[in-house]
């Protein structure tokens, strides 16, 4: 049998504890190289839609908060359009990048993104997904970046029909992906292990 000539993906390695140097140099005072850290501002002008804060922390298997993680989020604009050349359905809001990157706070472990509530994006079969934020987490001790999603506690009807949430066999685990609304802040704490272990995806 002839083997098809596919290459293998470069294997992942941990981002390590010093990810800030390369990805958010300004937050550790290594300024003067880049004017601004990538992904520091998601809203760049008068963007349409509801402005929200998306916040949370990440906990390890002992319940200790991670203070050296980096979190990236990627989401659609208020109309459900991604600001990406790979978007097929039209132009996204020019004042919203959809991409946020933060090193968690080195004392509290918190991330806090100033962003927009995303609109709904279709699944390949045409069904609409519930509004969600795509999340990627890297840190020391994480060998391959972790993918998860945040959904919204005030979108119960949409969440109930979401094709990705429907893939979760143990329904009580869906709760680990629902960011809880308080005024205009949605909070989602992420648990890497334990009883409340967050659902992570193989995308």
């Amino acid at each position: 049998m002839t083997k098809l000539a596919y290459l293998k993906e470069s294997p992942s390695q941990t981002a390590g504890p010093y990810v800030h140097i390369g990805c958010t140099p300004n937050v550790i005072g290594n300024d003067g190289i880049y004017p601004q850290d990538l992904g520091a501002a998601m809203i760049t002008g008068p963007a349409k839609g509801e402005q929200i804060t998306f916040a949370g922390r990440i906990f390890d298997g002992t319940g200790t908060v991670l203070r050296d993680a980096m979190v990236e989020i990627w989401q659609a604009d208020a109309q459900g359009i991604y600001n990406s050349p790979a978007e097929t359905r039209g132009a996204a809001d020019p004042n919203f990048t959809g991409f946020g990157r933060q090193a968690v706070d080195m004392e509290s472990g918190a991330f806090t993104f100033e962003t927009l509530k995303p609109g709904r994006v279709p699944f390949p079969d045409g069904r609409l997904q519930a509004p969600h934020i795509n999340i990627w987490i890297v840190a020391r001790g994480i060998n391959l970046g972790l993918n998860t999603r945040a959904y919204f506690s005030d979108e119960e009807t949409a969440n109930a029909d979401d094709p990705v949430l429907a893939r979760i066999e143990h329904k009580h685990r869906i709760q680990t992906l629902i960011a809880q609304k308080e005024r205009n802040t949605y909070t989602l704490d992420i648990y890497l292990q334990g009883e409340r272990e967050t659902v992570f995806f193989d995308i």
Partner: protein, 243 residues
């Protein structure tokens, strides 16, 4: 024309390091224990942020100069790190934002949490970025980082390495990895390297000395190619939709 814009090929999670790798101790409490949930890619995974030349500064890919005081430069073995970014189908991936970070020639990071006794180099920040061109080609100029000790076993040292972060065209291609240097005896000893089980996979992360691209009397070159996830063709998917 065939459109290669379908779902990404699934990640081979036996090729990548497992999440739980007890010889790398920090992974023990930071690795999810439950199975990951799989689903077919939607636009949430196949789209992603893409960056352009306007996002980059002139010295971003030159770590010898981008933190140096006027008229000075970083100390160490001067090297060029260059290569191509391809996808799993062997196609070049253009416009990939590649971010790198590394220790200085003595193995010390410019980071407040790094307490290693090797001195900082006032002319070295340890951070750079570049964009791949239409052929997937990229290049950096830097100094060779030093190995450094780290608390894991009683006497673990990292091989010299450069951290790499890559943005492809879809968020599902997002990747962070590390580049090692051919011939470094610490590669075989390192618990982080050895989270990867397949020697061929470790070899993919090992840059090769490239004398042909070395600039005589100036800087040696190391060749480092990278591969991002490939994508299915959507030719048949489109036909099925009746287009």
């Amino acid at each position: 024309m065939t459109q290669h814009d379908g779902a990404y090929f699934p990640r081979d999670r036996n090729w990548h390091p497992k999440l739980l790798t007890p010889d790398y101790k920090t992974s023990v409490l930071r690795s999810p224990q439950k199975p990951l949930i799989s689903f077919g890619n939607s636009l949430s995974e196949t789209t992603g942020p893409v960056f352009g030349h306007n996002d980059l500064g002139e010295l971003d890919s030159d770590l010898i100069q981008n933190y140096a005081r006027s008229g000075e430069s970083a100390l160490g073995e001067r090297i060029i790190v260059h290569g191509r970014v391809l996808d799993e189908s062997g196609r070049p991936v253009p416009q990939v934002l590649i971010e790198v970070w590394q220790a200085n020639a003595g193995g010390r990071y410019r980071h407040k949490k790094d307490g290693y006794l090797a001195p900082l180099d006032p002319n070295f920040g340890g951070c750079g970025r570049a964009l791949s061109d239409d052929n997937g080609y990229y290049a950096f100029r830097t100094i060779k980082p030093g190995p450094y000790p780290w608390p894991n076993g009683v006497n673990d040292w990292r091989p010299a390495h450069i951290h790499f972060s890559l943005f492809g065209s879809g968020f599902a291609q997002r990747l962070i990895t590390q580049m090692y240097f051919e011939g470094d005896p610490h590669i075989a000893l390192c618990p982080i390297v050895n989270t990867i089980k397949d020697p061929q996979a470790i070899d993919m992360l090992t840059a090769k000395l490239d004398m042909n691209n070395t600039i005589p009397m100036n800087a040696r070159a190391y060749r480092f190619d990278l591969v991002l996830r490939g994508r299915r063709s959507t030719l048949f998917e489109n036909r099925l939709e009746g287009n």
